[in-house]
């Protein structure tokens, strides 16, 4: 089955991101795939490339990137939730007159419409909240 996962939890604040990763990593072994991970609300912080945990703790931003490498899933970030939290790519930073950005490949800024499209084209949608 194809899965869409929605992540509401900020990294290191709750178990949400860890639970979602654990779930996503278990899917292929059971014949399933994760098609899309959608980061919403405080979950958008998972997409910040500035995340720098101590070396003996999981690197969540890297873990999501690795998930895309191994499973080919999309990593979609709600643009409205991200911008107001200071998470943005180069294009949005320029548009708003900023000089720095902290989001890039393999994460993509998208609208909530993209979440609906993903959920509709997936067999299952599972939410991981704080």
């Amino acid at each position: 089955m194809k899965y869409t996962l929605i992540v509401y939890g900020a990294p290191y604040s709750s178990q949400a991101a860890h639970s979602a990763l654990r779930f996503a990593r278990a899917l292929p072994g059971l014949g399933h795939t994760v098609a899309t991970v959608f980061f919403y609300h405080d979950g958008v912080y998972n997409a910040s490339t500035l995340i720098t945990p101590p070396q003996d703790e999981p690197h969540l931003n890297q873990a999501w990137a690795d998930l895309k490498t191994t499973q080919g899933c999309e990593l979609l970030v709600c643009v409205a939730a991200a911008l107001k939290r200071g998470v943005m790519n180069d294009a949005e930073a320029r548009r708003h007159g900023g000089e720095v950005h902290n989001l890039g490949e393999p994460f993509e800024l998208t609208g909530v419409g993209q979440l609906l499209a993903s959920a509709q084209s997936s067999d299952r949608t599972v939410t991981f909240a704080p």
Partner: protein, 96 residues
């Protein structure tokens, strides 16, 4: 059939009671993260409907040192079992 995914403790939140009120016969409920504490709450477990299967994620139980202390009504499952529960139920609701 709906799979209810619950990550709140019944000792500190009313959400687990809300989830039970929303569950209908044939639904299942899986306790994850701090939701595993519900499996130790005699009051909450006594209110479980007989026709709703209740599971608890072993990895989250073990992480909290609660391995062998769950109510008899609650069945321990692995992460793989949790994934399969989402596959065998047509939809899921995450309670938080």
């Amino acid at each position: 059939m709906t799979l209810h995914i619950l990550n709140r403790s019944a000792f500190s939140s009313a959400t687990p009671d809300d989830a039970l009120r929303a569950a209908v016969p044939g639904d299942a409920l899986v306790l994850v993260e701090d939701g595993v504490y519900c499996a130790l709450d005699a009051r909450w477990c006594a209110s479980l409907p007989l026709d709703v299967a209740v599971y608890v994620l072993s990895e989250d139980l073990e992480a909290r040192g609660l391995g062998a202390r769950t109510d008899a009504r609650v069945q321990t499952v692995t992460v793989d079992d949790f994934v399969e529960l989402t596959a065998t139920h047509s939809q899921s609701i995450s309670w938080f």
